[in-house]
Symmetry: C2
Subunit: 204 residues, 2 copies
């Protein structure tokens, strides 16, 4: 019994430490991207030594993968937490807002796009791909429902809509607008969401 509780305590400490490491990694990934992020920095930010970090995560890649997986889990939880009666288009908008919020707080690494050594390798990570497919399935369903209601352009293929929505999540216009200093974070988000759904032409 004594042994069991000691193990549990140690496991909890481990959990806490790993969460701290993942938080530091997420911030670094968001700020510099995978290739520019160094394990040294992450370790420093997490307040531990580099080699200690390697005890928890065997490589830089597995570190990044863990962060991405955790993020996707949070996004999936966000969607599943929305009230079932909420209109599908509002759910889509809610997810975009959630992502942009996270991003403006420095917490959203750009999804592995081109020009990252990471992207390719992630596609062979079961846990990651599993969640990506999961997310895609949910989004596709949402989009179809929204299109049926006519509140999303029914002439657009579903994957075009889904990918366009993902893309808005890492829209560089966020940084541009923030740099001007003209707008609050909330205004930036509002404009971005508005342009995403109503386009530059606006109207209705």
């Amino acid at each position: 019994m004594g042994i069991i509780s000691r193990l549990t305590v140690r496991q909890q400490q481990n959990r806490v430490r790993e969460e701290a490491i993942l938080d530091a990694t997420r911030a670094m990934l968001a700020r510099k991207g995978y290739d520019l992020m160094t394990v040294d920095e992450v370790a420093a930010e997490a307040g531990i030594a580099k080699a200690s970090l390697y005890k928890h995560f065997g490589s830089k890649e597995s570190l990044a993968a863990a962060v991405m997986i955790r993020l996707l889990d949070q996004a999936l939880a966000f969607i599943d937490g929305l009230p079932p009666e909420m209109p599908p288009a509002d759910k889509m908008q809610g997810l975009l807002r959630w992502a942009l919020d996270l991003r403006l707080e420095g917490g959203l690494p750009l999804l592995p796009s081109t020009s990252s050594t990471l992207q390719f390798n992630m596609l062979s990570n079961r846990e990651y791909v599993k969640r990506i497919l999961d997310m895609n399935a949910r989004m596709t369903t949402l989009v179809a429902a929204a299109q049926a209601q006519g509140v999303i352009d029914p002439e657009l293929p579903a994957d075009v809509v889904v990918f366009a929505l993902y893309a808005r999540t890492c829209d560089p216009a966020v940084e541009y607008l923030r740099m001007t200093g003209h707008y609050t974070n909330q205004q930036v988000i509002d404009y971005l969401v508005r342009v995403a759904f109503a386009g530059l032409r606006g109207g209705r």
Copy 2:
């Protein structure tokens, strides 16, 4: 006279060689981004030795800067080459199409966004900043004219429109859609342009 013509020939050779170097750099920048691009690769692709490349361009940074400047010059020339009677919104759309076309041919490096060591330093490059400001001025004028005609949402601040348009230029949805293999390049561009101007909601 003989000396003069020999110099001229040599200068022409230089010009040609430097154009080849810049083309190789542009392709590399488009494919891997600044940080992942190595001068070795560029030299190899240009068919010369690394050290020779350094005779032409003093550093990796000045190489990238030269590429960006040339690109901005091409973009400015594109805009200025459009017929004056063309409606401003069509000019905006034309520029977006031009950029996406270039990109799908592997020729458009993502503009220096976050997570690149380059971005910061470019802002202290006179020639680069000069052209950026030039471009912004032209775009702002175009947007104002289009808004006056009511074909771009008049409630959006001009800088929001301008930056949103820049952002579409490097929209990762391009890669996503291309990876699905469902669409031709032309279809990808059409959908992207449509979504940019009419939004996901579509309609009119």
